[in-house]
Structures are given as C-alpha cells and as structure tokens.
Assembly symmetry: C2
Homo-oligomer: 316 residues x 2
C-alpha cells in the first residue's frame, strides 16, 4: 500500500474547482501531480495555470500513480468514460469528490466489478470535500481552498483501512478537517443542509415572481428586494443541472427533508394565521439560537462513523 510521500505521483482526473485547487496545494507540498482533462484546450490553460506537474488528455498518463482523485462533476462520476475506467492503475487507491455518496459507492463497485477489478473494490474510497460550488472550470482552482473545510469519507466494512488512511493523509495535507461516516448518514445530512436549501430558495423566487405578477406588485417587489432576499435565494438560483442531479441521486433523503421542512412551515403558518404571536416569537428565537451552531461547527464526536479505524497510524 502506497503512502502519500513514497514518491509515486498523485493523479487527478478533472482540473476544475476541486481538482485544480488540489493540484496547486499538492504541488506546493512537494508532490508530483498528474492531471487528466477532457479537452486539449483545457489542458493548455491548465498548464498555463500550473494546476499539475504534467497535464494531458491521454488517460495513460495515470499509469504509475499510487492515488487517483476523481475530481469530476457528479454526472460524470456516475457515468465515467470507459477509457478512463480502463486506464486507472489497478494497484492505485481511488477516491472521488461527489456530493452524494451512497449511489456513487454502489455505482463504482458495479463499474469496477464490470471490468474485472474485484481486488480494487476495497481501495475505492468515497470522499466529499465540502469546498463550495460557486465557480467551476479550469479558471476556478485556487490555493488553500480546503483549509479548515470538511472532507468527509464514507467507507464501509469492505473499505481497505490503509486506502482510507491514504485519502485521509491527502485531505489533511491540504488542511481539510477530516471526518468519516456511513454514506447514508452523509446523504441525509447533505439533503438537509445542501439539497433542501436549493428547493427552498427556488420556491421563494417562483413565489415572489408569480404572486408579484398576480397582485400587480412584481416590479415593486424586484425594486425593493435587498440583500436578505438575495442571500435567501442564492443557492436556489444556482445551476439547475446540478440541483436536479442532486435531487435525482439523493431523492429519498431529499423527500424526507422536504417533509420535515413542510411540518415546520405548517407550524409557523398556523401561528401567524392564529395570531399566536408569543409562540411565533419563541419559534423565531429558537431559529436565531440554532443558526450559530451551523457556522464553522466542529466534527461530530463519538459513535457516528462506522467501525473503521482510519487514523494514519493504523495504516503503517
């Protein structure tokens, strides 16, 4: 099993926000990084930006890499190019950056089995660096993107502990805050804090537009909208392909989150309709008290992760 520092290069597939940032940080830490991209024009620009030590469009450049990071958008992670799959070094640890983990782990086990790589199954480590999606593409990578941000892995009983430790080493090298948990828990949590807000904000934009138009105050509402409306709708007004893909791959957890949200909204509406003002103030006060816990929280302690020892010491 390779260690990150044993001289083998690190491969990165895709040099967008995540892959490009990782390439910059790993090179700064002294590693050789090989970057695989889809188009020659992207390769040219990625070379100009110095996103990896060597960059190309031929998957064979991954040969010899001890660790390959699949830094592709979720749709391409779920349906990767067969030539990419064939070119992945059989001895390498593989990890991805997709924002939904259960379906991705199942899909990659299926893919690896399909090309006769049963021995590599345990070395596929599902990962999710939480580092923003506002920008994308070859211009988006930046140094220090992962510093202080969560990097979650979702191993299960079949995951090779040494492979997990290698990915942890990678995440910690770039300053991320490591945590491992079950894929289903990850997916339930991101449904609540990442996928539900997309629908919440999109519904708000649609409601303001439709109700504004039907009551003749649409232009006035747009004129009066301030930073509060802008902030509340920022993710709801984001990339529709990405929002749909997240909903599609995390459908069950998102529907449960929507049901929970609807109950809370029903309660608030009933308090307004019933003029139960002190109760409404109590609910809004509870919301105010809750919010700081969601800003820069520490990793959970105790009992949430599966029973896999992923400390670097365990892998030596």
């Amino acid at each position: 099993m390779p260690a990150l520092s044993d001289g083998q290069p690190v491969g990165i597939v895709g040099l967008g926000l995540i892959g490009g940032s990782l390439g910059l940080d790993l090179q700064a830490a002294g590693f050789e990084v090989r970057g695989l991209v889809h188009r020659e024009s992207t390769a040219l620009r990625a070379r100009e930006r110095g996103l990896a030590s060597s960059i190309g469009t031929d998957p064979s450049l991954l040969q010899g890499c001890g660790l390959v990071v699949l830094a592709l958008p979720l749709d391409r992670l779920l349906a990767p190019d067969p030539s990419l799959l064939a070119a992945l070094p059989g001895a390498a640890v593989l990890t991805d950056v997709g924002s939904v983990k259960g379906p991705l782990l199942a899909r990659w086990r299926e893919l690896l089995l399909g090309v006769g790589r049963r021995e590599q199954l345990g070395r596929f480590v599902p990962g999710h660096p939480m580092a923003g999606t506002a920008s994308a593409g070859v211009e988006a990578g930046q140094p220090g993107l992962f510093r202080g941000r969560p990097w979650v892995a979702t191993p299960d009983g079949d995951t090779d502990p040494e492979a997990l430790a290698l990915v942890r080493e990678l995440a910690e090298r770039v300053g991320a805050r490591w945590f491992s948990c079950a894929a289903a828990d990850h997916d339930r949590a991101v449904a609540l804090i990442s996928h539900l807000p997309v629908l919440v904000g999109a519904a708000l934009l649609a409601a303001a537009d439709r109700a504004g138009a039907s009551t003749g105050v649409g232009a006035l509402a747009r004129f009066l909208a301030s930073s509060g409306f802008a902030d509340t709708t920022r993710v709801g007004g984001g990339n529709p392909e990405l929002g749909t893909l997240m909903a599609r791959t995390n459908r069950q957890a998102l529907l449960q989150a929507l049901a929970a949200y609807r109950r809370e909204l029903d309660d608030l509406e009933a308090l307004v309709a019933g003029e139960r003002w002190s109760e409404l103030e109590g609910r809004l006060g509870a919301a105010q008290a809750l919010r700081p816990a969601y800003l820069g929280a520490d990793p959970p302690t105790g009992g949430q992760g599966p029973a896999v020892d992923d400390s670097p010491a365990a892998a030596t």
Copy 2:
C-alpha cells in the same frame, strides 16, 4: 410649507442605523440636525459620534424643526411615547421609516386626531428607506447608507403634495432612489421579498435541527453546513421580536405570500416524488433566470403609484 434648504433644522427621533446614518449624511450636506433619543447614555455616545448637530432626551428640542423623521423601531412607531407626540411641532412635516405602511399610516392618523391635530394629518408622509437591518443601535449609523437604495413613500389622496415633495427631497439628498406607491402595494411587495424569507429561513433551521436529531445526523449536518446554508438562513435566524412584529403588522399579506410559496414548494416536491427530472430542471432553470432581476432592479415604471404628483417642482 418649508423647503429642506430654508434654514429650518431637521429633527430625527432615534439615532440608530437609519436615524444615525441620516444625521451624518444631512450634516455633511450642510443641514442643522436635531437628534432626540430615549436615554442619556445614548445621547452621550451619539454626541461623541457626531450623529446630529444637537442631541438630547428632551422632546422640546424638536421645536422649530420643519421636518421630523421618526426613525424608531416599528413597535415604537406604532405606540409612540405620548410626550413625543405632544412635542412634535404642529407645522412640521412628519415622516417615518417603518417597514409596514398600511397599519402605520392608519395608526398615525388616529394618533394625530387623538391629540387634536387634524390639520397635520396630510403632512404625515409614510416612508420606508430600504437600507438593511443587520446592525442596530447608536453604533450602527454610517455615512452613505442610503446611496442607491430604495426609499419608498406611500401617500394617499389625503397626503399633502408639498409634504410629500419635501420628504422626496430629503431622500434624494442622501442619494436614495425614490418611489411612491399605495401602502397596500408596498405591504404586499415586502411580504414577498422581506417577511416571507424570514419564515422560509426559520423553517429551514428548525427542519435541519429536528430532522437531524431524529435521524442521528444532527452534528454531522452542522459540521457539513457551508456558506449556502448560512446564506439561506441569514434572515431566518435574525431578530425574533422584529420578525414577529412584521408578521403581526403585515399578517394578511404574509399569509397570502405563504400560500403562494406553499404552492411552489408543493410543485417542486411533486416533481421530485414523481421523478419528473426534466420538469424539475426547467423549474430550477426558471428560478436561476429570475434571480438577477431582484438584484439592484430599477424602480417600476408607470401606473403603480397613486395619482399624487410628488416631483419637487410641484411643491414650489
């Protein structure tokens, strides 16, 4: 009828974010500003900050002011101190800064009639400078707060056009973008873009907390929450007294906004439940296309305001 520049001082009641900022800008423009505050300690600090030319706690300092801006929180605007009411100069134009206009206009007409000031009714001009509520108190005032921001007045047929023109002059002096419309239209518009987002965000915080706890992923959700969750919940995690007061004073419009919101959310949920992904992508694409129109929109043109000529020329 006074003009802003005729040498009469401008009175400001309350030197918080709105009143303090206004005091700074008006003094910079060469006006004498008299600031009335509630507590002596506030007066001391407001003097140190130079928020007005003269500052005190005795309402009689408003005597001689041609224009008095009631820059108080909404609850104090709806139930002002009787001593304040008695001290308002009878010949002055009065304007306020409350975020709900219909109930406020009705309340102040009632108040003015109650103290025998029938002749002043038309000189009460309901106003709403849209300039943020994130900070409050005597430290919050800042120069240039109103520059480029909307300042809405909601006159009706009983409003004195010269009083309206004076308030418009005030708003434009500090760089605000003036607009006048019916109070009911203002209240419907702010229900959509300001009051509804409070409940939308508060419900999201409550849902993440409750569903996170019941499925055991609460701590994980807090750890993984990023800027998207923080932005979506910013106003929902705001001041509960203010949120309740807005709901209370704008209840009908807020209930209508909530009903419109629920319809949109129902639609999105049905698309996810029914796996109608291309329709979902269409809806999210529409939301993405809508959002830029809410960022820095121009004032509405044509037909939305009541038939009051509020151009400064009309008052000369």
